[in-house]
């Protein structure tokens, strides 16, 4: 609790710890994320970056600590409730439905017909179609709406998955290595995309590519052995001797 | 290859002989046998020279082990009847169907035999479940079933002749014997978990408590196929019954007796009387594993009488000298003979007439000795106590008087 009034963070992680058979993958972590902020988490392999995302979205359960999102405690909520509360998460490898068309992939994430009978009697209304087309234009796949998703290029698949998250209109968007395996021009396009979509929501990104990080990050958090090693602007972090030693140095 | 050659060369003269027999039968039938229209007014598959019967057992599946003996015995009886001139001058032709150890299949095949093949009689079934499955069909189609297995009773259909013993025949004499000979007062009842053991034990309990004045110190059932009897042997040791009264069946049998022996419960210390071990089962259990224990049956292969000697000889001649004959096998052998006698008495193949003729029918050529058909279509028979020998045979230590079949015993239900 800080004494003076700051805008309340969208996401407040405090004292978060998770241990696997005694090994603390995330250790007493504190992290705050503001509205409209793009935060990038970096760190060497095994630093616990992906685990943090897993903890936020409910895939892994915390051993102790709390995750407050818009005033709601996420650590006790079910995964789908966390999503419905407004948290979207993209996986490290593009995770899309290869056998379905791009349209169907996006439609699948439309936040209606999420319950059994809702899905059974879900109708493809004009509203749904409009929303799908809007998002498809945003991610640059308007031309491929009816092709099978499995046929897209690797970069396009990454975008499609981001598009699927956008369909849900989440308040917090979490992206695990969104530009892995992308060409230089695709990276640039992705950076642009991220800048556009971060309007009105918070974005948490895990990324290794420093150029890309520089181009999007408002603030960078460095994780090491499950703890925050440093936090601040990209420049500040890059010049932090501890960070150089463990991560950037070699 | 060799066996095939000898097989066919052996078969050839027999075929010729059969053909000749059939021809002469045809000639004879013009004079001797009655025309089909007279002996068969209900549209059965009977011609002037031939009558068709069905055989319905499991040749495959888990029950095949048990039913093979019955199939063989019925075949033998039918062959013998044919060789001696058939029934009312007609040769018996067999249609064999496989129930495949599956009750709906039994029902399906029974229907086929009765509806399509119009067989005059069916020899078949082994388990109660298969009999229950086909029973409504026999009653509806007015067929005739000869059922060979000793069973729980509580049934009496005019369309079934029960050639095995019903429960009271098998159980009461056995219990009386152990009570008298061994002075048994306390009993441990034990069976596989299904209707026959449960009904049998129910009857046994009533008899022990109400008639013998004894006490049941344990009664329990194990799932079919169970192979772990360790806790049971300990319970037996704890309760120290004078007699273990057992109706364990199938694969469990082997495990049960082996484990009894291993736990030191052997015949020199403990009396055991079983309802479910015949020579067939002993083959799997091994005589040495239960030597000295007793079984209560109406028939043992070692029965010493001329009928049986002849039967055993014929059976071994046909199926090899290793073949063993159990209680049910003998009962199955009676089926065709009882049917023949009834048909000839009725002078007709019509089921109603054959059924009417069956009551009171006597057969003194049965391997088990004299049997008589009761009005309730079960057989009057004797019950014997056999003691297991290490060689897999029984030695008969006691023989009862002729016992009246009583499928609905008053006071035991």
């Amino acid at each position: 609790m800080t004494g003076f009034q700051m805008p309340k963070p969208v996401l407040a992680i405090e004292g978060l710890t998770v241990s696997f058979d005694g090994f603390k993958a995330v250790d007493d972590l504190n992290l705050y994320l503001d509205r409209n902020e793009v935060r990038v988490v970096i760190g060497p392999n095994g630093a616990g970056k992906t685990t943090v995302l897993d903890l936020i979205c409910g895939k892994t359960r915390a051993t102790s600590g709390s995750i407050q999102f818009d005033g709601r405690e996420l650590t006790k909520m079910k995964e789908f409730d966390i999503v419905r509360a407004g948290v979207g998460r993209k996986f490290q490898n593009p995770s899309i439905y290869e056998n379905l068309s791009v349209f169907e992939n996006l439609e699948m994430s439309y936040p209606a017909g999420r319950k059994v009978f809702g899905a059974l009697f879900f109708k493809r209304s004009a509203e749904v179609i409009a929303r799908v087309e809007e998002v498809a234009a945003e991610i640059g796949l308007a031309g491929q709406l009816h092709s099978e998703a499995g046929l897209l290029s690797h970069g396009q698949k990454q975008w499609l998955e981001i598009g699927m998250l956008l369909m849900q209109d989440p308040e917090l968007l979490m992206l695990d290595e969104p530009v892995a395996g992308m060409s230089v021009s695709e990276r640039a396009q992705t950076a642009e995309l991220l800048k556009r979509i971060s309007q009105g929501r918070s974005v948490l990104v895990i990324e290794h590519d420093m150029e890309f990080v520089k181009s999007i990050a408002h603030k960078v958090t460095v994780l090491h052995q499950g703890k925050v090693l440093a936090e601040g602007s990209m420049d500040a972090v890059q010049n932090n001797p501890k960070v150089i030693e463990v991560y950037l140095g070699h | 290859m060799d066996s095939k050659l000898t097989g066919s060369s052996r078969r050839l003269p027999r075929r010729l002989a059969q053909g000749a027999a059939a021809l002469s039968m045809l000639a004879m039938s013009i004079f001797a046998s009655t025309a089909s229209a007279e002996v068969n007014t209900t549209g059965l598959a009977v011609t002037d020279t031939e009558v068709v019967v069905g055989q319905l057992h499991s040749a495959t599946g888990t029950m095949a082990i048990s039913e093979t003996g019955s199939i063989q015995a019925e075949r033998l009886a039918i062959e013998q009847i044919n060789a001696s001139g058939g029934i009312l001058g007609r040769q018996i032709k067999v249609i064999q169907e496989d129930g495949a150890s599956d009750w709906p299949t039994f029902a399906e095949k029974a229907k086929k035999l009765l509806e399509r093949d119009k067989v005059a009689a069916v020899f078949g079934c082994w388990t109660s479940a298969s009999r229950k499955a086909v029973l409504p069909i026999f009653e509806r189609e007015n067929g005739l079933l000869y059922y060979p297995t000793f069973y729980e009773g509580l049934e009496q259909s005019k369309n079934v002749v029960y050639t095995g013993q019903e429960a009271t025949q098998q159980i009461l004499a056995g219990l009386d014997w152990v009570a008298k000979e061994k002075g048994a007062k306390t009993f441990y009842l034990l069976g596989s978990d299904y209707i026959w053991p449960r009904t049998s034990m129910k009857i046994a309990r009533k008899h022990i408590e109400n008639v013998l004045g004894g006490k049941v110190v344990g009664e329990e059932y194990y799932p079919l196929g169970n192979t772990q009897f360790g806790s049971l042997t300990n319970k037996i040791k704890l309760r120290k019954p004078d007699v273990i009264f057992a109706a364990v069946v199938g694969g469990s049998n082997v495990a049960f007796y082996k484990q009894l022996k291993a736990a030191g419960i052997t015949a020199d210390k403990q009396t055991l009387l079983t309802l479910s071990v015949t020579e067939d089962e002993l083959l799997g259990i091994g005589g040495e594993n239960m030597a000295g224990f007793y079984a209560s049956m109406k028939y043992f292969q070692s029965l010493d009488n001329p009928n049986n000697a002849e039967f055993v000889k014929a059976f071994k001649a046909k199926y090899g000298s290793d073949a063993v004959i159990g209680d049910v096998t003998q009962a199955a052998y009676l089926g065709p003979w009882l049917w023949k006698a009834a048909v000839e008495k009725a002078g007709s193949f019509d089921v109603d007439k054959v059924v009417a003729a069956s009551a009171g029918l006597e057969l003194d050529t049965a391997p088990e000795g004299y049997v008589k058909v009761h009005e309730n279509q079960h057989l009057w028979s004797k019950t014997r106590i056999g003691q297991v020998q290490a060689d897999g045979q029984f030695s008969v230590v006691y023989e009862s008087d002729l016992i009246e079949p009583n499928p609905f015993p008053k006071g035991y239900q």
Binding site: F20, D21, A25, T51, D54, T60 | T62, A64, I65, T68, D193, E220, Y221, Y222, P223, G225, N226, T227, Q228, G230, S231, L232, T233, N234, K235, K237, L238, G251, N253, V254, A255, K258, Q259, K261, A262, A263, G264, D280, L283, G284, I285, G286, E288, N289
Partner: protein, 305 residues
């Protein structure tokens, strides 16, 4: 006083009974724990490999009795080795022809091995006949061992226990102390990486499967001392066996042992107080309930992915 000592004797024998049920379960489950736990293959024909071992023992006993009757007391040791070899060889064949094509499709291996089990059952029936057979036991395996007058410890139970101990120890040694075991565990954890460091993963898979089947064969041989052998004997065990492995937590050999122990004790104790059928229902239901609470089994390792 006498009553008390008798009660003690019964309790001791009942305890022994629990142990011997435990050994039976463990013997059944060991092979499966290797195959299912280490390779993720659901081998529904496991019971049939067990039966292969049992029939092998039966054949050896018949042949010994016929040709070398003076060696009858010792045939069992030959039979156990042969059971291992034959069941293992058949397993090797099955892996080569069937399983190797179906990795990563666990539910399909389940169906294919079920098919294999039907074929094997019918083969047993064609070769040995539908009747159950029983190997003749050497005298030293019959009867009981009496530490006191009131206590009978079945010798065949002791024998099964000894086989279980030796086999478990051997498997532990193989898996955790030998180079081959290291390769198996490496392959389980990371197939691609193992291949990269020069492990012939195909060979490892095949040997693992063969080993699992061979172990089942030994179990089958040991079971001839307590039960009979028929074409469908193996199928009686399959559900129990899978439950033991699943309950223990598939990847853990310790888990398998613990689970066999707890299931055996539950079953054995329940049997003492209620009827055998109901004891079985009770045990199975308890296992399922606990599985619902701990879906990954008793001893699952928490891993981060």
């Amino acid at each position: 006083m006498e009553w008390l000592s008798e009660f003690g004797a019964i309790a001791a024998m009942q305890g022994f009974n629990g142990l011997s049920v435990f050994c039976v379960l463990l013997l059944m489950a060991l092979g499966l724990a290797i195959i299912f736990g280490q390779m993720g293959v659901i081998n529904m024909a496991h019971g049939e490999f067990l039966t292969v071992g049992a029939y092998t023992t039966y054949l050896v006993s018949v042949l010994t009795l016929k040709y070398l009757p003076e060696l009858q007391p010792y045939y069992f040791f030959v039979a156990i080795v042969l059971s291992f070899v034959i069941a293992g060889a058949l397993g090797w064949l099955a892996e080569w022809a069937l399983i190797s094509k179906l990795y990563h499709r666990p539910l399909d291996t389940l169906l294919a091995t079920w098919g294999l089990s039907l074929v094997m059952q019918q083969a047993f029936r064609s070769i040995f006949g539908a009747r159950e057979v029983s190997a003749s036991m050497p005298d030293w395996l019959m009867g009981s061992f009496n530490p006191t007058d009131a206590i009978d410890i079945p010798r065949n139970g002791l024998f099964v226990m000894a086989v279980t101990l030796l086999l478990t120890a051997a498997i532990f040694f193989l898996l955790y102390r030998s180079r081959w075991g290291l390769q198996v565990r490496a392959t389980v954890q990371n197939r691609v990486m193992s291949r990269a460091v020069g492990i012939n993963t195909k060979k490892v898979d095949r040997m693992t499967f063969a080993l699992g089947c061979g172990v089942a064969g030994v179990a089958g041989a040991a079971f001839t001392t307590i039960g009979s052998t028929g074409p469908t004997s193996g199928s009686l065990y399959i559900v129990d066996t899978f439950l033991v492995v699943v309950f223990g937590g598939a990847a853990s050999l310790f888990g398998t042992i613990a689970s066999a122990f707890s299931i055996a004790q539950t079953q054995s104790i329940a049997e003492f107080f209620i009827s055998g059928s109901m004891a079985k229902v009770l045990t199975l239901s308890a296992v399922i309930l606990i599985l619902m609470l701990r879906p990954q089994g008793l001893f699952s390792i928490k891993v981060r992915k």
